[in-house]
């Protein structure tokens, strides 16, 4: 909110000279048990623009039986969620209430559907009438062109045509059974979520583990993100994060980041296996630890090349 007001001030003073940046988009985070999920497309877009990748979890309605391309929701890493919170660009969407909220929502949706159908019916009946009239005209004029071309004949047929058109106007009804019903496949539920900008320090449920390893991971995440790297989870490679020099859609990862505190000991065997894996997949293993002065210390582990 503070950021918004600052932007306002700038707008008044420098409106002619400077383009004030729009206030940062606040994404709505849904909590499923403790997993932070994003459902709305504008939220996903905003989050990607901030350099946070997340992981898509849902199946695509048109290609459900595959894992290659997944759809919404987007699952955020705990570090990504915390970063959004610190930047104040995430808000918790209110959890759906058990009975009241659900019933209201259903009624609302039904009402909207009925209104839409009514509108559609009216439009379609107008179009159907026009269709009938043009068909009639065609039929009359074609029969007329085939028939005798005398002047009196045309006048008479014109009269008849006008008469029949007026009859049509009066008596035409569009039967309900002929109505073409349109079913929208977009999830109606999502657009009904109210905007809830509840700032969150008080509201956010206390799910985080306040242990040092989590803190170390977050410090490393924030530092690397600040340097412009994109990070995703590295479960497949036995590390904490995969570090990409740019968007993962365009680059391969360069590093496997393993976060620990400076004093934490690991067995030399584990260091060896991590280094070996890294060299097999052409990535450098990065040992990351928050240092004493707030900086992060990085040590790159590589195959020595000594056979």
């Amino acid at each position: 909110m503070r950021a918004c007001s600052q932007v306002q001030v700038m707008d008044d003073d420098f409106s002619s000279r400077r383009e004030s940046p729009p206030p940062p988009h606040v994404v709505g985070v849904s909590l499923c048990d403790s997993a932070p999920l994003l459902w709305r497309v504008e939220d996903l877009r905003s989050v990607r623009a901030q350099g946070l990748v997340g992981a898509l979890l849902g199946s695509l309605p048109r290609t459900p039986r595959q894992n290659g391309r997944l759809g919404r929701p987007l699952l955020l890493l705990p570090e990504e969620e915390r970063l959004l919170r610190e930047r104040q660009t995430a808000a918790a969407l209110p959890a759906r209430r058990q009975d009241g909220g659900g019933a209201e929502l259903v009624v609302q949706v039904e009402q909207q559907q009925e209104e839409e159908q009514q509108r559609s019916y009216e439009e379609q009946s107008i179009l159907a009438l026009e269709d009938r009239k043009s068909a009639l005209l065609r039929a009359m004029t074609s029969s007329h062109s085939g028939g005798p071309g005398s002047g009196t004949g045309t006048e008479a047929s014109d009269e008849a045509l006008r008469g029949r058109l007026e009859d049509l106007d009066r008596s035409f009804t569009f039967p309900q059974s002929a109505l073409a019903v349109q079913l929208s496949t977009a999830r109606a539920g999502l657009s009904y979520c109210p905007e809830a900008r509840a700032f969150l320090q008080a509201d956010w449920p206390i799910r985080e583990q306040h242990d040092r390893s989590w803190d170390a991971r977050y410090q490393v995440f924030r530092d690397l993100r600040g340097r412009g790297f994109y990070l995703t989870s590295a479960g497949k490679f036995g590390g904490d994060f995969l570090v990409y020099p740019g968007d993962p859609l365009r680059f391969h990862a360069h590093f496997i980041a393993i976060c620990s505190s400076l004093d934490e000991s690991v067995c030399v065997l584990d260091v060896l296996s991590a280094a070996r894996l890294g060299s097999n997949v052409k990535k450098t293993v990065l040992l990351c630890s928050p240092g004493t002065d707030g900086r992060i210390l990085y040590t790159s582990l590589q195959w020595s090349g000594m056979v």
Binding site: F255, T299, S300, S304
Partner: protein, 156 residues
């Protein structure tokens, strides 16, 4: 000639090198004088010394004590005139912390970690400060073209 050879072999048969030859080795004695109380690490350091000097023929291999880590470190040059590198010899089942690695890196020389197994197999890992981009995959790269992709898809 034959006689001398026979006598040489006879000598060897009668005076095999003592089974604890390592303990009598001058470099081992040197390392021992550094008074690092970890005898296992001492032994490991000696094995790495032998590997570097006798097998890989590195130059000016010397041992030095690290007071913070209470370990024996080795310094050596790969070739004449090459820069000095620090080698940290450790038995394979030892715990190692990032802090210890930073201590060795702070000495300012390129660092190698040498892990030694119980059967004396050694492996060297390079450790560098900062983010070192890995080597890119080796070319030349060929665009497979649609035919190959279609073939692969059908095979799957």
């Amino acid at each position: 000639m034959n006689m001398s050879e026979e006598s040489d072999t006879a000598d060897v048969m009668e005076n095999p090198p003592p089974s604890n030859w390592i303990l009598h080795h001058p470099t081992y004695q040197l390392m021992k004088n550094l008074e690092v109380e970890d005898s296992e690490q001492l032994h490991t350091a000696f094995l790495v010394y032998m590997d570097l000097s006798e097998v890989r023929h590195w130059k000016e291999v010397s041992c030095v004590k690290s007071p913070e880590l209470q370990l024996v470190l080795l310094e050596a040059r790969e070739k004449e005139g090459a820069p000095v590198q620090t080698v940290l010899p450790l038995p394979v089942h030892r715990p190692l912390s990032h802090k210890s690695i930073r201590h060795v890196l702070d000495r300012g020389f390129p660092m190698l970690l040498c892990a030694v197994a119980a059967d004396s197999t050694l492996v060297y890992q390079r450790m560098t400060d900062g983010l070192v981009t890995p080597d890119p995959p080796v070319g030349p790269f060929q665009d497979l073209g649609r035919r190959q992709h279609r073939k692969r898809r059908q095979q799957r």
